[in-house]
């Protein structure tokens, strides 16, 4: 135990307390607040662990989008019906958790095999083979930043499917607003007037966010940042603008909206198909163009991520169906 | 596989009832004439085809159709002598039962459904007969269960549904056990075609235990349908079905499928030699003997005509099992011929019981007083059937019992004589009172419950009367002309000669 561990220990303790609170705070609204705070602490930890890409992403999501989501939920939901919010199987679950934790602790303290079996074994070579290969291949990938190289080239298939995840979630959300149902005032006009107080701030904040987002996207090829971080920042901007009434409803009936929602996945998939038909294989970029292809994919992806995420957070009947 | 008439004939025999069955399902309820034409065409075609195959087999033709199914287990349809015995019986009785059912169900609802399943049931029975190996046998055996269930519950009353559930519980359970047995056997010896003398003789030493267990499982599975005690519980319950169904169930389709399966397993899968080597015959014989006596006693206790007949079936079908388990050629002839004889006699009895119920509303034995005066023809047919069951010469039943008894003596199983004698006495005890009441008591003073067809030329609908008269006549004829080669007895002799390599 060394003194330089002190900040880490503090962060860890804080995180655990917040996690406990986010689960078991007597008031649900407190639980939600603590959960947002939890996100901030996690972002700090990412920074401590040299993961700036993640810190950026977590900040955009944890503080921004999740916050709005939970606020919306807090207002829309009735108070908890159950004073006793625990399930009937409480004691069984408690027993399970205690046993699991104890087993874990025993391994940790006495056996220590959890760390010595290779996860943190200082004796053996810790560098995963996949990582070594990835590092070696970055120069050929068309971008300089290794995380971007992994996301958009080595494991581009994952990223393509991830864009589909966003889309499918939106597809699911649309089911909650069946077409033909009249605009239900209960679901739409639920944003309070006090929000408009923020509009002055928003006029400053939103352009800043948009600019930062653009910067992150551009920077992503050589340094931390990229489509997802940029997209979430832009989404946050859109959400704030929308909440303060500065942005008109995004109407599903507009072809442009639909196009920007599917653009990322559609373009990515088209690239995949094109490389399979005319190129060397599914998602094998032609060497000379890989940088260009990656940046175009990222631009479309950013657009889609931004629009889809903002719809996921604040999309209502008028956005999703009309 | 080259397609010649010898390969296609077994398939055609099944299709000759399957296709009319499917067409009947699609027939509107009101189109009675179309239904009758379909039924009768099917029956006629089938009888012609069976006659063709009979001629073929007696000239030594091989009828075999096979398609791929499981690895090492094809679907095989094969017409051999034993199969023909069963097919000929079922085709002839199908004809009779169809005529009877048309008369019986006249103007009742859901006839398309009834006759559809009826035809499917016969197709499945014929499939059981034609099955060339155990897998194919299992397939049709299960299809038979499925096709008969709707017939059992046809009336749709709470009792019918209860009986249907019991029937399913027994037969599906039995089917599963049979599957286990067949799968176990498959893992030891594969699933080749049935051969006279069996295909397990060379394995009997090495796999004695497994083979015994497989035998036990298969006998249990088959014993459910063959109604061996204690697996007979469904049969008396299934009496709630309409009379033609009961007739078919008892004489041809279900119980016979079980008994036929036992014959196949003992003769054509295990073979006489392996069965004896594994000492499986003695327990089977005891089981059959217990069933014969127990069911006869139970029959004596019943007051409902159909229930008494049901227990009589349990007892009589076990004659077949008994004959098979004696492993002597003469007893085997008795067993195989009884397959046909019992069918003829029992169907006569059920037709008559149905006539009594339909015409005069008679269900109980006490109500039979003086029946012979009102319905002499039916009562006469009933008498032939009953006397045949008891074993009075020259009716069919006598031949079976005679062969079983001599067969038992031949293999020095004298105790079987006691069983046969006891059973005959019990048969007499539970059938003679019915005959006495019918012929010698006076009709009830208050008249009958119902009195349909009164004052007409015939005692009941002609379609109800003709089938029992024909089958009663047949039961006498097969007894009288037992010596001819195309009598069931002659044919059984032919089969047994092949099985025992005589």
């Amino acid at each position: 135990m060394t003194p330089e561990l002190l900040p880490d220990l503090t962060l860890s303790l804080l995180l655990l307390i917040m996690a406990w609170g986010a689960l078991y705070a007597p008031q649900r609204s407190d639980a939600m607040t603590l959960f947002i705070a939890f996100g901030v602490v996690v972002a700090l930890i990412w920074a401590r662990l040299d993961a700036p890409d993640l810190a950026l992403a977590e900040a955009a999501i944890g503080a921004g989008l999740t916050g709005v989501l939970l606020m919306h939920a807090a207002r829309a939901l009735p108070d908890e019906l159950h004073q006793d919010y625990r399930t009937a199987s409480y004691w069984g679950a408690l027993g399970f958790t205690v046993v699991a934790s104890l087993m874990f602790l025993v391994h940790l303290l006495y056996d220590d095999s959890l760390f010595n079996a290779g996860l943190l074994d200082t004796e053996s070579d810790l560098t995963p083979r996949l990582r070594t290969l990835a590092d070696a291949a970055v120069p050929e990938s068309g971008v300089e930043h290794p995380v971007t190289a992994v996301l958009l080239n080595f494991r581009a298939w994952d990223t393509l499917l991830e864009l589909l995840v966003l889309l499918f979630a939106l597809g699911g959300l649309r089911q909650l607003f069946p077409s033909g149902q009249s605009d239900d005032s209960a679901t739409t006009a639920s944003w309070p007037e006090s929000m408009t107080l923020m509009s002055a701030w928003t006029r400053v904040l939103a352009p800043l966010l948009v600019v930062t987002g653009g910067y992150l996207l551009w920077r992503g090829s050589s340094a931390p940042g990229g489509a997802f971080q940029a997209g979430s920042l832009l989404a946050a901007a859109a959400v704030i603008l929308r909440l303060t009434g500065l942005l008109p409803p995004l109407r599903w009936s507009s072809l442009w909206l639909r196009l920007s929602v599917v653009a990322g996945a559609l373009f990515f998939l088209a690239v995949a198909a094109a490389t399979a038909i005319w190129g060397d294989g599914w998602l094998t970029y032609p060497g000379a163009y890989s940088g260009l292809l990656i940046i175009s994919i990222e631009i479309f992806a950013t657009l889609s991520i931004a629009i889809t995420l903002s719809l996921l957070v604040i999309g209502e009947q008028e956005d999703l169906r009309s | 596989m080259t397609l010649s008439w010898t390969t296609l004939l077994p398939v055609l025999i099944i299709l000759s009832s399957l296709i009319p069955g499917l067409l009947i399902f699609a027939t509107p309820e009101a189109a009675a004439r179309r239904r009758i034409i379909l039924n009768m065409t099917g029956v006629t075609v089938k009888l012609l085809l069976v006659a063709l195959m009979l001629a073929g087999v007696s000239r030594g033709f091989e009828f075999r159709f096979a398609i791929a199914f499981l690895p090492g287990a094809e679907l095989v349809l094969r017409g051999d002598a034993l199969a023909l015995q069963f097919i000929a019986l079922s085709s002839v009785l199908w004809l009779m039962t169809t005529i009877y059912a048309i008369g019986y169900l006249e103007n009742s609802p859901l006839r398309s459904r009834f006759f559809g399943y009826f035809s499917l049931c016969v197709s499945a029975t014929v499939g059981v007969a034609l099955a060339g190996n155990m897998i194919t046998f299992l397939l049709f055996y299960e299809l038979l269960t499925l096709a008969t269930f709707p017939l059992v519950v046809h009336r749709g009353t709470p009792e019918a549904l209860r009986a249907g559930r019991v029937y399913l519980a027994y037969t599906l359970g039995g089917g599963t056990v049979l599957l286990m047995g067949i799968a176990l056997l498959h893992s030891i010896a594969g699933t080749p075609d049935f051969v006279p003398g069996g295909y397990l003789t060379s394995l009997a030493d090495e796999h004695a235990l497994s083979l015994r267990i497989a035998f036990g499982l298969m006998i249990v599975g088959l014993g459910v349908k063959a109604a061996l005690v204690p697996l007979h519980g469904w049969l008396p319950q299934a009496m709630v079905a309409p009379a033609p169904v009961s007739a078919l169930l008892h004489a041809v389709a279900v119980v016979k499928a079980g008994a036929f399966g036992i014959i196949r397993v003992v003769y054509d899968v295990y073979g006489i030699e392996a069965t004896t080597l594994l000492s499986l015959t003695r327990p089977l014989a005891w089981l059959a003997a217990v069933t014969i006596i127990f069911a006869s006693v139970r029959a004596l206790q019943q007051q409902d005509i159909k229930r008494r007949l049901a227990y009589s079936t349990v007892s009589q079908v076990s004659y077949i099992t008994l004959g098979v388990s004696l492993v002597g050629p003469i007893a085997a002839v008795g067993a195989i011929v009884h397959l046909v004889h019992q069918g003829l006699m029992k169907i006569t009895l059920f037709f008559c019981a149905g006539n009594f119920a339909e015409t005069l509303g008679i269900h109980k034995i006490q109500e039979m007083d003086g029946l012979g005066r009102r319905m002499p023809w039916s009562m006469a047919a009933f008498t032939v059937g009953a006397l045949g069951m008891i074993g009075v010469p020259p009716i069919a039943g006598f031949i079976s019992k005679w062969y079983l008894a001599t067969g038992a003596l031949e293999v020095n199983q004298d105790w079987v004589l006691l069983v046969l004698a006891g059973s005959s006495l019990l048969n007499a005890a539970y059938f003679l009172p019915l005959l006495y009441r019918g012929w010698f008591r006076a009709p009830p003073a208050g008249g009958w419950h119902e009195n349909n067809f009164a004052g007409q030329r015939l005692e009941t609908h002609w379609m109800l009367l003709l089938p029992p008269l024909v089958t009663a006549l047949l039961s006498i004829l097969v007894g009288v002309f037992a010596g001819s080669i195309f009598s069931p007895l002659g044919w059984s002799q032919f089969i047994v000669n092949r099985e025992f390599g005589l």
Binding site: L23, F38, V42, H82, V147, E162 | -
Partner: protein, 100 residues
């Protein structure tokens, strides 16, 4: 114990704690929070593993980015689903009706 071991342990601890929450909590919002915390625990484990070498493993970071996208999309959908469900509940049973 060094920082990596600490965060690795912390990740597993958060995972276990929130798993316990998921098993014991009734309120769907809290359950959703629990699932998100489980996710955070998982990501903690991944990021600590990435930090084992001097330069963090980009592969794991990329995986976590992907995981975060999945998490936020699913969370948003789930939250909206819960809200819609409770609205329906309210109009359905006149509100305040306890359901087991």
């Amino acid at each position: 114990m060094n920082a990596i071991e600490l965060y690795l342990t912390l990740g597993i601890a958060v995972f276990l704690l929130s798993l316990h929450g998921l098993m014991t909590l009734y309120d769907p919002i809290r359950r959703l929070i629990a699932v998100n915390l489980m996710g955070a625990g998982t990501f903690l484990v991944m990021v600590s593993l990435a930090r084992r070498s001097e330069v963090p493993d980009p592969v794991l970071h990329a995986l976590v980015v992907t995981g975060l996208v999945v998490a936020i999309s699913a969370t948003a959908f789930a939250l909206r689903l819960i809200i819609a469900g409770s609205k329906n509940d309210k109009t359905d049973s006149g509100g305040g009706n306890r359901k087991p």
